[in-house]
């Protein structure tokens, strides 16, 4: 009973933490983009607009929740919940420090990949149920993209698992106590980062919600709180892939001098900034070019990377 209570408490803490993180990420993105674009970004609410996000959240909460007349109602209503839950579940196994982890599963990597791929189901549900052609196009694009990019993503993680000899995220971090795996797996890290960017639909791979083509993509019909859930999930997913990259390749919370969580967040936020940098610099690919890039570029490369790592481990490991 007591361990269950502790776990419940921990998950609530994680939820609160995620809410704050998302707000901060949105604020960060707005500020970063603003400075990329020689503007200031939010400046009015609070110091340098730091309370802007609270104002925005309140506004969105008070908005009318519109359900289109021709929408498939229940699917339409559950999609944002599902997308949010799948984004949230991933955090339960990510080790923020040796002790700050809700549940250290022995199949942690598998679990994270499993729950995050639920997102694609939710996006398809949203796109289909909205009964809007733009949403449908966005949903189908998202499915094609996310499922395709999952393959190089997983293939680029496998060498790390082989090096650590475990699927548990905490064990993988511990295995990097001498040096981070990025030194052994530079190509793997690059492949992971690229496929992860596509996984979370960020520029240059943001075609499912390409606003200049599909207006908003799968979430076009959503308003108010339901829209916020998509928005939340998007930023959470971005944070997840960065946290995962930090855990798998950059040694997670390991690092000299500073306390463990600080190292974890430093590494994660560095990657978050890289993703933001990419978003505010690059144009967007077209769907067929995107698929080409995955199946003809990333997939063969990640296979080669996997085989070479395996051979290296057999002969030198």
């Amino acid at each position: 009973m007591i361990p269950l209570a502790i776990m419940l408490f921990k998950s609530v803490v994680v939820l609160a933490f995620l809410a704050v993180t998302t707000m901060f990420l949105v604020y960060l993105e707005r500020k970063v983009s603003a400075h990329f674009q020689v503007r200031y970004g939010p400046m009015r609410v609070g110091w340098h607009g730091s309370l802007q996000l609270i104002a925005d959240a309140l506004k969105l909460l008070m908005k009318e929740d519109i359900i289109p007349k021709m929408a498939d109602k229940w699917v339409f209503l559950t999609a944002p919940v599902l997308v949010f839950v799948s984004a949230y579940l991933a955090y339960l196994v990510i080790p923020f420090s040796p002790f700050l982890v809700v549940k250290d599963l022995n199949v942690g990597v598998l679990y994270v990949l499993g729950v995050t791929s639920l997102t694609v189901l939710a996006i398809l549900m949203a796109g289909w149920s909205s009964n809007n052609k733009y949403a449908l196009l966005g949903g189908l694009r998202a499915v094609a993209q996310i499922i395709s990019y999952e393959i190089p993503l997983i293939l680029s993680i496998i060498p790390v698992i082989m090096l650590a000899g475990s699927l548990s995220l905490s064990r993988i971090v511990e295995a990097q106590h001498t040096f981070p795996f990025i030194l052994l797996q530079p190509l793997g890290f690059l492949l992971y980062l690229l496929s992860a960017t596509a996984e979370v639909n960020r520029t240059p791979f943001d075609i499912p919600e390409a606003e200049s083509e599909l207006v908003a993509g799968y979430n076009i019909e959503y308003s108010g709180m339901r829209f916020v859930m998509f928005f939340f999930a998007e930023y959470l997913n971005m944070f997840t892939v960065c946290a995962l990259a930090a855990t798998l390749f950059l040694g997670g919370w390991q690092g000299p001098l500073l306390p463990a969580p600080v190292w974890f967040f430093l590494k994660t936020y560095f990657l978050v900034l890289v993703l933001m940098w990419m978003r505010w610099t690059l144009p967007r690919l077209r769907i067929d070019q995107l698929m080409d890039f995955c199946w003809k570029g990333l997939l063969p490369l990640s296979l080669v990377n996997l085989i070479l790592s395996a051979l290296w481990m057999v002969f030198y490991g």
Partner: protein, 367 residues
Amino acid sequence: MTELKTEEYYLSMGPQHPSTHGVLRLLLKLDGEVILQATPDMGYIHRGLEKIAENRLYLQIIPFTDRLDYLSSMSNNLAYVLAVEKLANIAVPPRVEYLRVIMAELNRIASHLIWLGTLALDLGAITPFLYCFREREQVLDLFEMSAGARLTYNYMRFGGVARDVSTEFIKGTADFIKKFGSKITEYEALLTNNPIFLARTKQVGIITPKQAIGYGLSGPLLRASGIKYDLRRALPYSIYEKFSFDIPTGELGDCWDRYIVRIREMRESIKIIDQALAGLPAGDFKAKVPLNLKLPAGETYVPIESPRGEFGFYIVSNGTNKPYRLKIRAPSFCNLSIISNLLKGWKVADVVAILGTFDIVLGEVDR
């Protein structure tokens, strides 16, 4: 196993859509993402300017021309006053000619900046949009200094311009063009050789020279297809003969060529403004022309090279103070006529790239 059945469907793109640049509606027949048929539908902001003009004095029509291609009002003004001046045989003081060229070229820069920003935006790059607007603001400041307005300038008059420019304007313009070249380099650093940008624009939406001429395309679209035809050279108006500048052309007629032609045109505009500023004579900024101008019976058509192509007014006068018939030859309208032919076989994402490089302004398509 039963065979999987696929269906074609219609997607109504616009009139409210972020990438149709106004209120153009494209009815797309799609097979998945591939376009089988595209039917453009215009007229959402048709104001009947040609009809209204028949009931207005010649002078009263100048503000209406601002509202045609609202991104290049100076060029519209210029086309109109040139046509009226030709019919009425009004001599223009030399200072005015120089001022008009400066304004028209500054306007070309401002208009191309909007085009560049929105093209990048359509292709998913948001940052160049704001860079372009940063420089456009400076041009608008210059216009505000001279014409008093930032969008609809209403600056040209028959035989002159509305008011003379100040020395600050001349200094500001000189400053601007001195710095602007490096800004273009900045935009190009973001786009020109970016592999994603190349993938999205190279070999996309190719217009052959034959097609371009057949469909009556003009301006950068025609030149991107490799035809060296610029009205500033071919049928010189105002004092463009006095200036030396190149006519940039493309090779293939794809989206990238249309992009690079406009980029290089901005650099040519800098050259022209530079020469015009150097040669700007002192003197009157206005000839004596009656407000209630009566034009002799007759007809005229003076085409000019607006940022979007051949812009001209065909005026038929019956000797009164109002035009008997005023036809507006709008480049966006003519350029757009190729679109349903061109879009076939491309993907939804290419629609925005192709439309983006067309640089249409619905104000002059619908008139």
